[in-house]
């Protein structure tokens, strides 16, 4: 393992060569926004909120999967990137039916939080208003497709941490949906252990606990870095 030095937003920083730009940035107090990324899960680079500019490269790179390199000059918050991020957030709001005022996760939602941080005061692309079902067949949890942003955190936590692989994705493009088992009702899933990990890593109100009213669904993710650390120590 060797140490590499680089510049992020004008600041000289250093990190180990197996670290990503996002990790090194965070260690140095620079917050790069992300929706699909969560510490403890395999990064997939899907939400594109964390794209950064690297000097000398035409393409934007996702900070969550880009390893640091010696002499890299990274810009994480240019006007252009801010504009792109706002558009991505607007696209997400337009995709399904995100009505914050009646959502269980109001006030505890990553999507809402990022929108506020990025000054998304309105959505300029047309709302698509798709008709999305709600699966309330599980005894303790609810899946509301209206709030899902397809970050696949639930898919990954269930597969990588819980080891159940109850969740997966079906369909493609704008028709893609998260599913339990082979697209059967969550309540009838034979693989679900009802561990609630998926509910708590979910960034929005798509997965919630039953009995929670508007704005009551706070998520608790402390278990994830803890479990990850325990596993590494055990190894």
């Amino acid at each position: 393992m060797s140490v590499k030095t680089l510049v992020i937003d004008g600041k000289d920083v250093s990190g180990n060569d197996n670290q990503t730009v996002m990790e090194v940035a965070r260690e140095n107090g620079i917050r790069i926004p992300a929706l699909c990324h969560l510490d403890g899960l395999t990064p997939v680079g899907a939400c594109r909120m964390c794209v950064i500019e690297v000097k000398g490269l035409n393409k934007l790179l996702p900070a969550c999967v880009t390893r640091i390199e010696e002499g890299m000059e990274v810009s994480t918050n240019s006007d252009r990137l801010q504009r792109y991020r706002r558009t991505i957030l607007e696209l997400l709001f337009s995709e399904r039916n995100h009505i914050c005022s009646v959502c269980v996760s109001n006030g505890h939602c990553d999507l809402q939080g990022l929108a506020a941080r990025h000054g998304v005061t309105h959505v300029s692309v047309p709302y698509r208003y798709p008709s999305c079902p709600v699966d309330a067949t599980h005894s303790r949890f609810i899946l509301d497709h209206n709030r899902c942003i397809l970050c696949t955190r639930c898919v990954r936590v269930c597969d990588e941490v819980e080891g159940a692989h109850t969740w997966d994705v079906m369909g493609r493009g704008i028709e893609a949906r998260v599913i339990t088992d082979l697209n059967q009702q969550w309540g009838t899933s034979g693989s679900c252990t009802s561990c609630s990990k998926c509910v708590h890593v979910c960034p929005t109100g798509a997965l919630s606990e039953k009995g929670k009213s508007v704005a009551e669904m706070a998520k608790h993710r402390e278990f994830l870095p803890y479990l990850k650390q325990m596993r590494e120590d055990h190894r």
């Binding site: 997939v44 680079g45 899907a46 939400c47 594109r48 909120m49 794209v51 393409k59 934007l60 996702p62 999967v65 390893r67 792109y84 558009t87 991505i88 696209l91 997400l92 337009s94 995709e95 300029s124 692309v125 047309p126 698509r128 942003i149 397809l150 997966d168 994705v169 369909g171 493609r172 493009g173 704008i174 028709e175 893609a176």
Partner: protein
């Protein structure tokens, strides 16, 4: 007997058998002509030959694509060079009877036309000449000599050097230098196996180059893959071919079986310790699986969606092993390069784009079909000389290259040489070789909408800009074609183009806006006409508020 002597022996036998025949009637049995019943015509021709007692001197042979697909079913007389088009069952008796005399005038298509004269065939050299289901035919045409030569006379490093020297670039569309890719995989450290993958997931609307090569000359692709396997030290190859190509799959399967029996695939090829096996993997109809990381995920049995690169497949590919991925046409170029040398190949084409390119010429053009031209010919030569111009007295409007990732090139750029850089400069791409000609009846907003719908339905849904952005752009374009759009919609469309292009995860999303961007550049007035309230006053529409 060594393999090379064996191949020589087969060739001599084949030639001797062939010399007994005074006449060879070749009939195209690739998918295009088969769809107009060339199989029935082949049988009828054979029956007629038997009836006339010519079975001893006349051979009726099914061959691969001869090119002029719009003229199918196509029949060629090998000896006299006569080409018959639009042959019907009732013509067969006449064709056989006229073998000794004058050809059947009403069916004859002159081969003394630019369509045939302007082409240079390397990848398609055997297409239309050999029986795609016969390995002996391929061997008799010089097949598998490049492989035996590489194994016997060259080191893997020398093979890579030869490919580098040729200047060959990836024919899948992006044009990455093939030699460089090979040497990266060859040098990649691996404790276990390495893999060679042939990308035959051809999916651009209007493109049928790879299908034609696989249907007409499948052994060429296998030989290219085996040489690649030797060069990068891989012992396993996969051909990822879409399930919508049943004939290509069938012929490929036959070819693999024959090659294994012949000993040009399998264990200890040519008496060396080099082993190479090839298996077929079928795509289930997702366009995005043509993207290399999605293709690998699909071969591994996972959901076919791309992942961020790096790591590139050359370092971490199939099951995290170094993997060489090239497309069908790229592999099709390998045997001739090894046979004739890299310098020979580099002598064809332009400074940065070497060799030839196969195009599937389609749309509003007289001669639709499969063509192979040297890099650097102009679009005008392709459309007007080889293609024969626009039918029905209409005028040329644009040619679309690169499918849903490409753009529309207007008349002002007709004299552009066809190479990777020139096409990119005018907002399109070389792409895999689909070329759709449009006349003045085409509306460019409709064209953009068509390709956007394609990208929307083919997006895997993994990343946000591509998943939602293509759907939003499609809705905006629909509004325009229905004359419901406002200037604000146009501004929004342009903004979405920029975001989707720059932030999407893989090539599908990054290039999805190209058809819109290129039509906006050259046919902007058509977008203005699609907006209610007519043309906006300023050159630029007010930014979205």
């Amino acid at each position: 007997m060594t393999l090379l002597e064996d191949l020589q022996h087969i060739t001599e036998e084949e030639e001797e058998k062939d010399s007994k025949f005074k006449y060879h009637i070749n009939i195209c049995v690739a998918a295009g002509c088969l769809s107009s019943q060339s199989d029935v015509i082949k049988k009828t021709l054979q029956d007629e030959v038997n009836k006339c007692g010519l079975a001893e001197v006349c051979k009726v042979k099914g061959v691969g694509c001869m090119g002029p697909c719009s003229g199918g079913p196509v029949v060629a007389l090998a000896e006299s060079g006569v080409l018959y088009e639009h042959v019907k069952v009732e013509d067969c008796a006449e064709i056989v009877k006229s073998l000794e005399g004058k050809p059947v005038e009403r069916l004859v298509q002159s081969t003394d036309t630019p369509f045939f004269k302007r082409q240079v065939k390397i990848v398609l050299e055997n297409c239309g000449k050999i029986d795609p289901e016969s390995i002996t035919d391929y061997i008799a045409a010089g097949g598998y000599r490049a492989l035996t030569h590489a194994l016997a006379e060259m080191t893997p490093v020398e093979v890579v050097e030869e490919v580098k020297k040729s200047g060959l670039r990836g024919r899948g569309g992006a044009g990455y230098p093939t030699g460089l890719k090979w040497s990266t995989v060859a040098k990649a450290q691996s404790s276990g196996r390495k893999f060679v993958v042939c990308n035959a997931d051809e999916g651009d609307p209007g493109a049928f180059m790879d299908r034609s090569v696989l249907e007409s000359d499948p052994h060429r692709v296998l030989e290219g893959m085996a040489i690649a396997g030797y060069a990068v030290a891989a012992d396993m190859g996969y051909v990822y071919v879409r399930a919508e190509y049943p004939l290509a799959i069938k012929r490929l399967k036959t070819a693999i079986k024959q090659a294994e029996q012949q000993g040009v695939l399998g264990n200890d090829i040519c008496g060396t310790n080099f082993s190479f096996h090839v298996e077929i993997r079928l795509g289930a109809g997702a366009f995005v699986c043509g993207e290399e990381t999605a293709l690998l995920a699909s071969i591994e049995g996972n959901r076919g969606q791309p992942r961020p690169r790096p790591p590139f497949p050359a370092i971490k590919g199939l099951w995290d092993r170094p993997t060489l991925i090239n497309n069908v046409e790229t592999f099709g170029n390998i045997a001739p390069i090894i046979r004739n040398g890299g310098e020979w190949f580099a002598g064809i084409g332009t400074e940065k784009s070497k060799g030839t390119k196969v195009f599937a010429l389609a749309g509003k053009v007289q001669n639709t079909g499969l063509i192979e031209v040297p890099m650097g010919v102009t679009l005008r030569e392709i459309v007007f000389d080889i293609g024969g111009g626009i039918p029905d007295g209409r005028s040329y409007k644009a040619v679309q290259t690169g499918g849903p990732s490409g753009g529309c090139i207007p008349a002002e750029h007709l004299d552009l040489p066809v190479d990777y850089e020139s096409l990119a400069r005018v907002g399109s791409i070389m792409g895999s070789g689909g070329m759709i000609v449009m006349d003045d009846t085409s509306n460019m907003v409709d064209v953009a909408k068509f390709f956007m719908e394609f990208c929307m339905t083919e997006s895997c849904g993994k990343c946000v800009p591509c998943r939602v952005g293509t759907a939003q752009m499609y809705d905006l374009l629909t509004k325009m074609t229905e004359k419901r759009a406002t200037p604000r919609d146009l501004a929004l469309l342009e903004e979405l183009c920029e975001v989707v292009k720059n932030t999407s995860l893989c090539g599908l999303g990054q290039t999805a806006p190209n058809p819109v961007l290129s039509t906006l550049e050259y046919f902007r007035h058509e977008y203005y006409e699609a907006i209610t309230g007519g043309i906006p006053a300023g050159p630029a529409v007010e930014a979205v508020s």
